[in-house]
């Protein structure tokens, strides 16, 4: 190297140009293959991942919103239904109680009516009994007073007139 050949400061040397071209292409391929392709691939993969996870998050949020809306709606419906049920039950109970009361009233009226009839009948029976007893008393009284036999028809007639004179009870 002591007597190394030295080129001119500014010269055009085809060998250097061709070899530099080759070197540049080799360096280009190295950078492309070993750096850019790899890094771009990993960045792309990361971007896809992030995009996907964002999408998943969005989907989940949308689904949650949807579910919440659905549940709110269902809850409202259930509340309405239960209110309706209560209302129906109350109405039914009211109707039933009205019915029961009406029935009871009817029954009571029937009882009162039949009781009235009974009373009437009892009264008649009592009046008849009293009539008979009075007749007996009257006959005994009359026999005692008159001390004579009278015919049964006369007796009957006398009693009737007596009772009539006594008046209706």
């Amino acid at each position: 190297m002591a007597m190394a050949k030295v080129t001119e400061f500014l010269t055009i040397d085809p060998t250097t140009i061709v070899l530099t071209l080759c070197n540049t292409l080799i360096l280009f391929l190295i950078l492309k293959h070993f750096l850019f392709d790899k890094i771009n691939k990993i960045i792309e993969a990361r971007r896809n991942d992030i995009e996907e996870s964002y999408k998943r998050a969005d989907d989940a949020e949308r689904r949650a919103d949807q579910l919440a809306a659905e549940y709110t709606e269902r809850l409202g419906k259930a509340r309405e239904e239960s209110a309706e049920l209560v209302r129906n039950a109350a109405r039914k109970a009211q109707a039933r109680s009205d019915e029961i009361i009406a029935e009871a009233k009817l029954e009571a009226k029937g009882i009162i009516d039949s009781a009235g009839l009974e009373i009437e009948r009892e009264k008649k029976i009592a009046v008849n009994q009293i009539k008979d007893e009075i007749a007996q008393i009257a006959v005994s009284a009359a026999s005692a007073v008159v001390e004579k036999e009278i015919s049964a028809e006369d007796n009957e007639r006398l009693i009737e007139s007596f009772i009539d004179s006594v008046g209706e009870v």
Partner: protein, 245 residues
């Protein structure tokens, strides 16, 4: 110490076609390729969707930076250009930064910047023809008037040449200035008798520290900026060529 204004050394010669001279530029290019290959393999080892390692974050930050620049400057239909732009960036930045290791900057070789500029030029021409058709491409040189033909031709050729010379000029100029400064500081040191020699190694105190500031500008800053400018111009020109009516 290199003599000022010297081109890259020939490292070895392949005895083909009457001897192909392999210069420092090419060997450094191979070193950079090897380093980048190892770096890429290391950075992209077991990548996870949820990053765990710092190196994955660094790799992703770099890829995102280039992807973002390409998307912003060229639009998303040119995303396939991202690795190409990254190649230019990485190659140019590392090619300039090797000077920090005492090697000759790769981009201080006009052949390198010219090669890249020609690649960009080829892409520009390809997209112009693809967009307007071959007839449209030829007609484009006579726009807006036929008189403009020579000017259009010059501007077409000027595009890659200016790109190549801009980068080459900046980096090699920086290299020349740094070399000159070293020489001047060495001379100053021996004039002030603050230069010692231990055996055959000469240590000049004046050469310590002072060049570091300028080296940061010329090697680090200028190298990175030129790489960025070259990459940005490539993006702008190519997307411009594809957008032309």
């Amino acid at each position: 110490m290199d003599s000022i204004g010297q081109g890259p050394r020939v490292v070895f010669t392949i005895p083909l076609f009457g001897g192909l001279d392999i210069t420092e530029t090419i060997v450094i290019g191979w070193l950079i390729i090897a380093a980048v290959l190892l770096l890429c393999l290391w950075l992209t080892r077991d990548l996870k969707k949820i990053p765990e390692k710092k190196r994955q974050i660094i790799a992703e930050a770099f890829v995102n930076f280039v992807n973002g620049s390409v998307k912003e400057t060229m639009g998303s239909r040119f995303m396939k250009f991202a690795p190409y732009i990254a190649t230019i960036l990485v190659y140019a930045v590392l090619g300039a930064l090797v000077s920090l290791l005492g090697l000759r900057s790769m981009t201080a070789d006009f052949n390198v910047t010219l090669t890249w500029a020609l690649m960009t030029f080829a892409l520009i021409t390809y997209y112009k023809i693809k967009t307007n058709g071959f007839g449209g491409y030829l007609k484009g040189f006579a726009q807006p008037f036929a008189v403009m033909l020579p000017l259009n031709l010059i501007s077409e050729v000027a595009t890659p040449l200016s790109m190549a010379f801009r980068m080459f000029g900046n980096v090699s100029g920086g290299m020349v200035i740094t070399t000159l400064l070293y020489g001047a500081l060495g001379a100053l040191s021996s004039a002030l008798h603050i230069s010692f020699s231990i055996g055959s190694v000469v240590i000049s105190l004046g050469q310590l520290f002072t060049p570091a500031v300028l080296s940061i500008y010329f090697d680090l800053f200028s190298g990175c900026i030129q790489a960025y400018i070259f990459a940005t111009l490539t993006m702008v020109y190519i997307s411009g060529a594809a957008d032309e009516e």
